[in-house]
Symmetry: C2
Subunit: 721 residues, 2 copies
Amino acid sequence: MDFIQSMRFPFVLVMGISLIALATAFWLINWVMAKDTGTDEMRKISDAIKAGAEAYLRRQNYTIITLSGVLAAVIFVLYAFVRQHNEHDPANSMQLALCTTASFVAGAACSLIAGYVGMWVSIRTNIRTAAAARTSLNDALRIALRGGAVAGLFVCAMSLIGVGGLFIILKVLGFPYEKIPFMIVGYGFGASFVALFSQLGGGIYTKAADVGADLVGKVEAGIPEDDPRNPAVIADLVGDNVGDCAGRGADLFESTAAENIGAMILGVGLIPYFGWKGVVFPLVARALGILASIFGVLVVQCEEHEDPMDALNIGYYLTSFLSALGFAGAAWWMLRSEAAPNAWIYYTACGFIGILTAQAFVYITQYYTEYKYRPVLEIADASKTGPATNVIAGIAVGLECTAVPVIVISIAILASFKLGVQALGPAAGLTGGLFGTAVATMGMLGTAAYILAMDTFGPITDNAGGIVEMSHQPEEIRKKTDRLDAVGNTTKALTKGYAIGSAALAAFLLFSAYLDEIFNYTGVRIGVDLSKPEVFVAAMLGAMLVFLFSAFAIRAVGTCAQTVITEVRRQFKERPGIMKGTEEPDYGQCVDIVTLGALKAMIAPGILAVGAPIVVGLLMRGFISETQRTIAAEAVAAFLMVGTITGILMALFFNNAGGAWDNAKKYIEMGTHGGKKSDAHKAAVVGDTVGDPFKDTAGPSLHVLIKLLATITLVLAPLFI
Amino acid sequence: MDFIQSMRFPFVLVMGISLIALATAFWLINWVMAKDTGTDEMRKISDAIKAGAEAYLRRQNYTIITLSGVLAAVIFVLYAFVRQHNEHDPANSMQLALCTTASFVAGAACSLIAGYVGMWVSIRTNIRTAAAARTSLNDALRIALRGGAVAGLFVCAMSLIGVGGLFIILKVLGFPYEKIPFMIVGYGFGASFVALFSQLGGGIYTKAADVGADLVGKVEAGIPEDDPRNPAVIADLVGDNVGDCAGRGADLFESTAAENIGAMILGVGLIPYFGWKGVVFPLVARALGILASIFGVLVVQCEEHEDPMDALNIGYYLTSFLSALGFAGAAWWMLRSEAAPNAWIYYTACGFIGILTAQAFVYITQYYTEYKYRPVLEIADASKTGPATNVIAGIAVGLECTAVPVIVISIAILASFKLGVQALGPAAGLTGGLFGTAVATMGMLGTAAYILAMDTFGPITDNAGGIVEMSHQPEEIRKKTDRLDAVGNTTKALTKGYAIGSAALAAFLLFSAYLDEIFNYTGVRIGVDLSKPEVFVAAMLGAMLVFLFSAFAIRAVGTCAQTVITEVRRQFKERPGIMKGTEEPDYGQCVDIVTLGALKAMIAPGILAVGAPIVVGLLMRGFISETQRTIAAEAVAAFLMVGTITGILMALFFNNAGGAWDNAKKYIEMGTHGGKKSDAHKAAVVGDTVGDPFKDTAGPSLHVLIKLLATITLVLAPLFI
């Protein structure tokens, strides 16, 4: 009774802030929608993008809903059967099967909605940004950012409401606090599952259209980017929305949801110290982070001749600062008890480590992908001797760029772990340390809403540039949108760095949650001992999965792009009026072809990702000897951990190599090494094209894969015992 | 006394066979040297290659000897200091320091000699193969293979004599059998250390020369491969020798040595069952494998119109069959006792698993790199749409090709482990199982001498082709050497598959040896528990090392190739007579430039590889708490294991992507998609060039890195406790 009394306030706070965030999002939608939509020509183009994006997302969501339905049924059956088998308590077993399935469905539904809303706003903000660019850079910047913020706020608020809501519902149904986090892991899995397909489908769509449009348009026909004569140009613009908005929205939705649940599971271990407060702390910390993000978004503005990136950075620093304050307050309030009076200081330090880690990733990403620094200049130099040396240099940069992030993450994990151990003293053992890494992750995710706003800014300004170009606006307007577009490219790269950084930091937290869950079911605290052959083999298979998954994702782009190339060539050949500008190309046909291609291509890697951990777990169960009941659970943990390590490295490689190639090309286009149309530029275009599926398909899909592996093992843990 | 009596026969056998192998090698040298050396023009070219290769190897060996000397001193000091510190027994400690340092020096020296002999024969066989090609394909084939066999026999015999000899010396000095394997781990480390620099230096040399020669010669000047007007052509031919012969020779020398020692360490655990026989079994099994290889090499011959690959395959099957017979015999003789009367049957089965794994890797490599199959055809198809899609397709193939080998290795490890457990029954526990994986590795390495003969066949025939081309022989002679060269490309790819397969299979054996050694020093049997933060962080750093090392290796080729390009362009510009054929280019200048560049470039990755495990181990020692004395040793084990897993995957990726690109180009050159000089061909040349540093620098260096990590941790284990 006392529990329920005192828990009321934090929950009201979390829900209240979430509702404020949603209200702000709606207010921002109204603010954006009231803006001018420019000329008829602009509206025509924007409508075509809108129609294509909505048609694609409708079909993609239909596919995802079907797959989710099938999986929900499988989860229910497995849970009902396996738990019944293990527990000999049919009633309890059925209840848990229902809970897990229901939270899976809820997670999947929320993830779909979050992705859809982000894209819905984005395809309406693009034209308003384009229209505003005709009069004021500041207006254009603010419209794009606030449009993007709708996605950010929606994603973060939805994830809080989902996790918090399920918590309350289960509490009202009478479950004990300490069991609830284990019952809502299905929510994280549902979110991951949808995120995987959204990111894969969107990522394949956007790059197949981009590569296809570029190779025939720019390289063969010699027409500029976004030229209306290119039949694939609308598909390319649609791709920016379905890949970057819908995909990344679903990605970060599941990050925040899964990592929140993981942190709550670890909080259960601290109930002797902080009671239920430790369990709810992650929700409160993140709610305060959302508030900070709202302030951050609202203050951003810039003068006509300022660098818009500086304006965005000011907003980001403010958000980080406010979120650090909120974090310290929440820690003081919730992570303090007589048993550990100073714990809150240590955990606040852990949170700060998370915030600093986020900053570090932003800097590292900039270093490796901006043309102010050595790596991109090296690639640009190598372009002088042709495409082969350009590609070799890019791959070397991509491989190299993994080093510093891994060192940063290592320091963050060890430092927050040591601080966590200090917080509760040696008596609490590893539990306090593990919670320290969880708190650091929460700190890192505090600014998620702002980061996501900056990310969605990317495709909005990209689209705005495309609309300005296609509607034949004067040169100076294009220059303005080009400036915003360049900033958008940077923010997109930063978000990927942030996403992979938080995935890496969260990895350890999610492993620990898994081990806690195994303990919860078996009473045995297992290690993950690589010196056992089954465990080592599973680890090797986990790393291999990352390579195979990447191969599938990259090949899917290649195959799908081929169909676009064939179609564009066909249109150019059969309708010579297109190139003369007297005949309009059939944009819709290209959009349809990419849509079908992307949907078909996302199935294989998706099934691989979901199926592999299940197969490995069940196979290893076959090896169980009487003395080692938990060997399958241990093998699956190794599969997950080493898969995660490899996934982090490969994602960094793909994202940064792709970003560096892109900017090496831009650097040459600015006039170095002969500028546009020089041989060096042609070489750089090859590198950029190679980087496209790296940075926008394989890399981002790997973020989701990592977290999917974590949540799928959390949900299916009972199967492996 | 009884021990010494009964051990005499196996040791006499091992040493006897080793001496027979060396005698055969000398007989083969005489046989090859007696052959005709062709025309004066051919001799002139061959002499230039010889001079360049010997000059390079002299300088490289000088550098390596210096570095080895420094490291030997460091090892001595560390050992003397740390062991003194730990054991409080200065006399014993000094003895061990001396032993380890001496065996390090011996290993380094033998590795250098093995690499040198391989190259010495190769640069003398090339011209004789070229000369023989004028009259008979069979003669040319046999000369090339027998020249290659000198390297194979020398490497395998030297490694047996080294390990066996040290064993005898230490026994005579009065050390107990069960301590000796731990005392000679330095031998494996010395071999690895030299192999690392040989493979790195050679790999950078060969590809910098190749890429440089191709980019200016083939692409810019439009002259064919191996054209005498290209100033870098001699450097390119020298590169084949120093990279493929000297590098790979050192690589396989250390494989056989390190894995032998690892297997002997595990054999120590079985002394209760088989006595010292289990410790010596690996030596005997490999000695019989060498005998089998001699027979295999001697039977190879082919008719004028047969495929030379078929002839080589017949030799390989014979070697595998004989070595399987020998293996079963050795197991029956040495792995049988009253306590375990049927153990030899199970262990024979383990050996067969190793032999089958070798076969499987040969098939898989062929599937992914020959143009008869889907992967290469896919890359060739993608070349139609330009270099970007070609590169994307190649990377997808490279990533995909990791899947089946990992599954094969997983099955081999688990199956041999389970058989090993069966062999000794549950009472022996894991020890019997671990020895099972060691026996499988010995089975796989049984055919090493034959494989290495086929490998060295590659650069010999490559050089023979170059000599024929440069000395203006008639078209039909070139066709003959082209056929041999094509076979050589296949055998080189197969050897890489075999080398990485054996490294993967051996990995688990070497980890277990490390854990045994920690047990030997501390009496604590540690696991490698990834759920501890220090261990997880070390695992992440291990994976990162592989990426960073690859980045260094690939960048080194790029940088060094740039200097070649600049030099070739300079010669073309300053001496226009070269292109007209009236003036001879300055080959020596190019050779010098590549030599200096490669030597400089190999230092950074080499130091990184050697330094990283030491730094990680010592840093983690800083985290030692009183309750976890062995945490640093555990962290280093995780560093090694996850580094190995990542290394295996990346090596497969690099080797097979490179091989597939190479053959996609060859396939197009045969006339598909427009044949030579078509746009598809140009695109394929880009992919091939990107693949050059992949398959001949980064990939092979990673094999060595993996084994270096294993031996360095074995040697430095006492430091981490």
